[in-house]
């Protein structure tokens, strides 16, 4: 059982919509259902089941095509009026929690939830081709027949001793194939076993009818594929019941993952088969089903994909659908989160075809176009919000009676046009989006009181660092205000130790300290040993502040010097004109007012300037040598000072 579960979970559901192949439904690793438009190659819809993490989607099946104009609750019978365009609408998803979700692509929301039928995870779902019936097989060994008009189980029967891993309804809707321990064929009217087929040793993952002929004509064939099995077996339903073994088998390179076929309705028509294997290869077969064939058949064509790099890496194919034209195949490849769709023409003459694609560009292209159509799930008031970690919780399910109510209501105004419906969707979407930020805002915390408490209690440096790095004044205030009183003195002590050292860090600590003093004034003042408690802090601050006077003076001095230097640099950078102006001042050697006035005259030649520069250099040299040779420090200093004054006046 466990191994079955693993293999099934590895195989992610990935299904093309029937007929026109307009959509690809993929349930990726993240539990979300994405519906991709194969024409525009963009994300059409995205749906996040509310329990997508706990109850993952195990299987997906498209409902039969129907006219969209009909209300969603109408029977999914093929419309007699063929001119009305038929569209794939409903998607059935089986979940690991045992429920079946029906999702409507036209509405873009969950249509209804079918539950109460299974006690184990659902392994497979299959629609009845004509009536609005749905069949699901589960780990609890039962098959349930759901009536979609009521949303209730119509019948339920034990199918096998082992879990039902696969299901298939015959194209005429009269027979049902189920695979568990053995493959059984049921008569759907009487719910009795019609035939049994044995042969697979592992769990059967794929069951498909290959022909549309009636069972008593010796012409009904179906095929089956199993986990870890590199053969697809074809079984014949014979009139005489001597159908013990498979009649034909197709060889594959790995376990089949996605099977698409075009059924044949007569002996002269070949069955065309496209099988995507687990190793990412696609195999195409074409075979006339007319009796047993001893040898396993090898594919008429194998398709692989690779990227366009220097050393090509294979790109896994995810699904393939055969087109009406024998050459064309609709491919989906890449990863499940963002598959790339392509309608490829394949040269069937060659046995092996390798397609080279640049996946990167394709990916980014589709990325750009997806954004607008992403749909957020609509949470209605009755759905429960689940908290992770609750034991034994299941997918929140809309109860069956409510589902029927909804259906009735919708059935009432079934004439609602697409435009109206779209409008409704948009409205709901926008309202849910508006609601969303509020909810997140309420979840966000605006203070670290609890964290700070924990940090102080266990003296955890990591936590304390994190808390003290806060720069927002509001957060600091709130944190301090909500801090319980016993933690105040430890906090002050911690801040005292952190106040020493780098001024930038200390500055942040001072903010905290101020907040503590402001918020807990009365508490601190009421402490009997306040002086001893805060004495250390007081001393520390006092000794640090002692140098304030001198520091400020030094800072001022430094500021003056550096700004002068910067100004000099600026002047150098601007032009030579300024330099000449400076020279004017040197020549006149009088007062500054004149010099500043003279700066405006650009009438001086550059010779003098060069002289001046040389002079300066000489002076500089002298200075460099001076201090070593001099003996009297005082005099040296004085001279320096005088000299500096001169140069500053420049």
């Amino acid at each position: 059982m466990a191994t079955d579960g693993v293999s099934l979970s590895l195989k992610l559901p990935c299904v093309f919509s029937p007929k026109s192949r307009q959509y690809l439904a993929v349930c990726a690793q993240d539990g979300r259902l994405r519906v991709w438009n194969t024409d525009s190659k963009t994300l059409h819809q995205e749906y996040v089941p509310s329990a997508h993490l706990s109850a993952t989607c195990t299987c997906v099946a498209w409902g039969p095509c129907r006219t969209v104009k009909e209300g969603p609750q109408r029977k999914k019978r093929k419309s007699e009026a063929a001119q009305v365009e038929e569209k794939a609408d409903l998607l059935a998803m089986g979940t690991a929690a045992g429920t079946v979700l029906i999702y409507s692509t036209a509405k873009g929301s969950l249509h209804c939830t079918l539950d109460g039928g299974h006690s184990g995870g659902v392994n497979c779902v299959h629609w009845h081709p004509e009536d609005s019936l749905l069949y699901s097989g589960s780990d609890d060994t039962n098959i349930v027949e759901w009536d979609l008009q009521t949303g209730k189980t119509r019948s339920k029967w034990k199918a096998d001793r082992a879990a039902v891993t696969s299901l298939c309804v015959s194209p005429d809707g009269k027979l049902l194939l189920s695979a568990g321990h053995v493959i059984k064929m049921w008569d759907l009217e009487t719910k009795e076993v019609y035939r049994k087929f044995t042969g697979h040793s592992t769990a059967v993952t794929t069951l498909r009818f290959a022909t549309t002929r009636p069972p008593d004509s010796n012409g009904l064939y179906f095929l089956s594929g199993a986990a870890h099995d590199r053969l697809l077996s074809v079984w014949q339903v014979r009139e005489d019941g001597k159908d013990k073994n498979s009649v034909v088998s197709f060889t594959l390179t790995d376990e089949p993952q996605h099977v698409d076929l075009i059924t044949s309705s007569s002996k002269e028509e070949a069955v065309r088969l496209a099988v995507v294997c687990k190793d990412g290869q696609l195999h195409l077969f074409e075979h006339f089903l007319n009796g047993p064939c001893k040898k396993p058949l090898s594919p008429s064509c194998s398709v692989q994909m690779s990227d366009t790099k220097e050393s090509p890496m294979p790109i896994p194919l995810l699904a393939a659908a055969l087109g009406a034209d024998p050459q064309s195949v609709l491919l989906a490849y890449g990863n499940y989160l963002q598959p790339v769709m392509e309608n490829a023409e394949i040269n069937m003459a060659e046995r092996h075809v390798c397609l080279a694609r640049d996946l990167k560009t394709n990916l980014s292209l589709s990325m750009e176009t997806t954004v607008s159509k992403v749909k957020t799930p609509i949470v209605n008031a009755k759905s429960k919000v689940l908290i992770p970690g609750l034991p034994g919780h299941k997918a929140p399910v809309v109860s069956a009676p409510q589902g029927t109510e909804k259906r009735k209501k919708d059935a009432g105004n079934k004439e609602m046009s697409i435009a109206e419906r779209l409008g409704e969707i948009d409205l709901e979407a926008s309202s849910s989006q508006k609601g969303a930020p509020k909810a997140t805002a309420s979840l966000q915390t605006d203070n670290y009181a609890v964290l700070l408490m924990q940090g102080l209690e266990s003296k955890d440096a990591n936590i304390l660092n994190k808390v003290f790095q806060t720069r927002k004044e509001v957060e600091i205030k709130k944190t301090v205000a909500r801090l319980p009183l016993p933690a105040v003195i430890p906090l002050v002590e911690e801040l005292t130790t952190r106040l020493q050292g780098n001024p930038l860090v200390a500055c942040m600590m001072v903010r905290w300290l101020k907040a503590v003093l402001v918020h807990h004034t009365s508490y601190l003042a009421s402490l009997p040993d306040l002086v001893t408690q805060l004495g250390v802090l007081y001393h520390m601050i006092e000794s640090r502040v002692k140098m304030f006077h001198k520091l400020t003076k030094l800072h001022g001095k430094l500021h003056l010097l550096t700004t002068q230097v910067a100004a000099n640099d600026d002047r150098n950078a601007v032009s030579d004109v300024d330099h000449t102006a400076k020279l004017v001042y040197e020549e006149e050697s009088s007062d500054e007012e004149e010099a500043s006035g003279d700066e405006a005259f650009p009438n001086e030649d550059s010779d003098h300037w060069e002289e001046e520069e040389a002079m300066q250099e000489d002076e500089g040299d002298e200075e460099d040598e001076d201090p070593d040779s001099r003996t009297e420090p005082k005099a040296n200093g004085d001279e320096d000072m005088e000299h500096e004054n001169e140069s500053e006046e420049e």
Binding site: M453, S458, L513, T521, A525, L534, R544, M547, H555, E644
Partner: protein, 528 residues
């Protein structure tokens, strides 16, 4: 002749964490060896006999590790589900482990297959232990019962159903074969006597009990549950002695270290705290990467083994190499020292003629230069990289001495770009240190005076001056804020003093000013 006085280096109080005997002892471990297990490590137990292997229970396995091996020397895998509480018998021959599937298995340490299976519990067994007579096994289970089993015939001897929730910890007495204690999620600890039908003592911990520990004397019992570690006096009938709350998440494991003088507690908050067992103060703290589920110390604290929720087993071994090296070097030096000391404590007789031999004074490099009046070189010597990094107080001391002599300006002058940048680097690094600020401020001012004219010629120096300016600016901002805080504190002290009339003791002088202000502001404060 006045001799040269070496530069006096002031001794400053050390900043930061105090180094105690305990921090030295508990820091003397090598870098941890980390081993990835298959699942969360729920229990670690050291074998009581010589090589002191330890059994690590993680997921469905019990691994035996040797004292220095990083690979399991033995693995017991015969568990159907998660294994719990693999413990050794006092002779180190047998190992017992519980399991999620309610079966208790007994293994021979050298064998592979379970010797005995004890079936009877209906739910997972989280507690197993041997009694001190070696022939019985105590088990505690999630079915609220604890049972005693006979090893030879695998039979159940007695069942106690007194707890009302999961039993998650238990210990047996090492002195009395009939005594055992269990702790349960119903917040209680119960002391049982196998000869009696009911529990002897019940203690209420107040939180679900996660771990139990008996002191070697067995007079005291330590229990951990919730965020509390509690110590109980068993001889006084279960009187609570101490309640410790030093973790911010559930305490999961307890251990004794340092010959029972230290108590260790491990918690989900990733910390291991070491307590002194006489004062019950935290003396040391270890930090780990993930929430800790299990902790064990080898005899003599040779290694600390910690198991975490992220399935990593961390083993720290005690450092030995340095100790042995020290001993070696001491042994080699000893005879020469004896020669050196020879005659030192000889008392001269009254009629002896004393010839005094001047003791050769050892001078530091900077002092030698100072003695020769090479002030510039003395400063260079004090600015050597290792000195200014490791002992900035010496560098500052030398600068101070130079300043006292009035030769600081000489020493600072005449430096090229590289030397000056070194000097500035030192100043920038230490000017905000309150201990050095007065001296360095003077030095910085002098540097500015001397090199004023060349500012702007070197990009490097300019950059450093800018950095100095920035750091000064931030420091000034800080001090401005600090002055405000000082004002607040003054006001606060003033109110408290006027109300309480507490005489100033040590800080009296520092805020005498505050007191003066307080007297004037008192009436206003009282009004408000």
């Amino acid at each position: 002749m006045a001799s040269f006085k070496p530069t006096k280096i002031p001794v400053y109080p050390k900043l930061g964490e105090k180094v105690t005997q305990d921090t030295l002892y508990w820091k003397n471990y090598k870098a941890p060896v980390q081993i990835k297990e298959f699942g969360a490590v729920s229990n670690i137990d050291f074998s009581p006999v010589a090589p002191h292997n330890f059994a690590v229970t993680a997921f469905t396995r019990v691994h035996l590790y040797g004292p220095f091996s990083q690979e399991p020397v033995k693995t017991f895998t015969r568990f159907k589900d998660t294994a719990y509480c693999g413990r050794f018998r006092s002779d180190g021959q047998l190992l017992v482990a519980g399991c999620e599937d309610s079966v208790v298995r007994l293994f021979d340490v050298s064998g592979k297959v379970a010797l005995r299976m004890f079936k009877g519990h209906t739910k997972a067994v989280h507690v197993t232990d041997f009694t001190s007579d070696r022939y019985q096994i105590l088990t505690g289970s999630d079915d609220y019962t604890c049972r005693l089993w006979d090893i030879p015939n695998a039979a159940e001897l007695s069942t106690y159903q007194e707890h009302t929730d999961y039993i998650r910890c238990g210990v047996t007495s090492k002195l009395n074969r009939d005594l055992f204690i269990t702790g349960s999620y119903d917040h209680t600890l119960k002391v049982f006597d196998a000869r009696a039908e009911k529990s002897a003592i019940t203690m209420d911990h107040g939180q679900p009990v996660e771990s139990l520990l008996l002191y070697p004397s067995e007079g005291l019992l330590v229990s951990a549950g919730g965020r509390y570690v509690k110590v109980w006096d068993l001889l006084k009938g279960g009187q609570p002695l101490v309640s410790l709350k030093n973790h911010h998440k559930t305490v999961t494991c307890l251990a004794l270290g340092n010959n029972g003088e230290r108590l260790l507690s491990a918690s989900l908050d990733r910390h291991v705290k070491v307590y002194n067992t006489t004062t019950y103060k935290v003396v040391h703290n270890f930090d780990y990467a993930a929430a800790i589920l299990s902790l064990a110390l080898a005899p003599d604290d040779e290694s600390i083994v910690v198991g975490m929720t992220n399935s990593i087993l961390s083993i720290k071994h005690r450092k030995h190499t340095e100790e042995s090296k020290e001993i070696m070097s001491q042994q080699r030096r000893r005879p020469s020292y004896r020669v050196f000391v020879k005659g030192k404590n000889y008392v001269p007789k009254p009629d002896d003629y004393l010839v005094s031999k001047p003791v050769k004074e050892h001078l530091a490099k900077y002092d030698k230069e100072l003695k020769k009046f090479n002030v510039s070189k003395a400063l260079d010597a004090a600015l050597e990289v290792w000195l200014r990094r490791k002992k900035p107080e010496i560098t500052v001391g030398v600068i101070k001495e130079l300043d006292r002599r009035g030769t600081l300006k000489n020493a600072l002058a005449g430096r090229d770009e590289k030397q000056l940048s070194q000097l500035l680097h030192f100043v920038i690094g230490n000017i905000v240190d309150t201990r050095f600020a007065p001296v360095l401020l003077t030095a910085a001012e002098m540097i500015l005076d001397i090199y004023k004219s060349v500012i702007g010629q070197s990009a490097l120096i300019d950059q450093q001056l800018l950095r100095l300016q920035n750091i000064l600016e931030s420091e000034i901002n800080l001090e401005r804020e600090l002055l405000e805080v000082l004002g607040m504190l003054d006001a606060m002290f003033a109110t408290s003093i006027t109300r309480k009339e507490v005489p100033y003791s040590d800080v009296g002088r520092s805020n005498g000013l505050a007191q003066g202000e307080a007297s004037s502001s008192r009436p206003e404060l009282q009004v408000t």
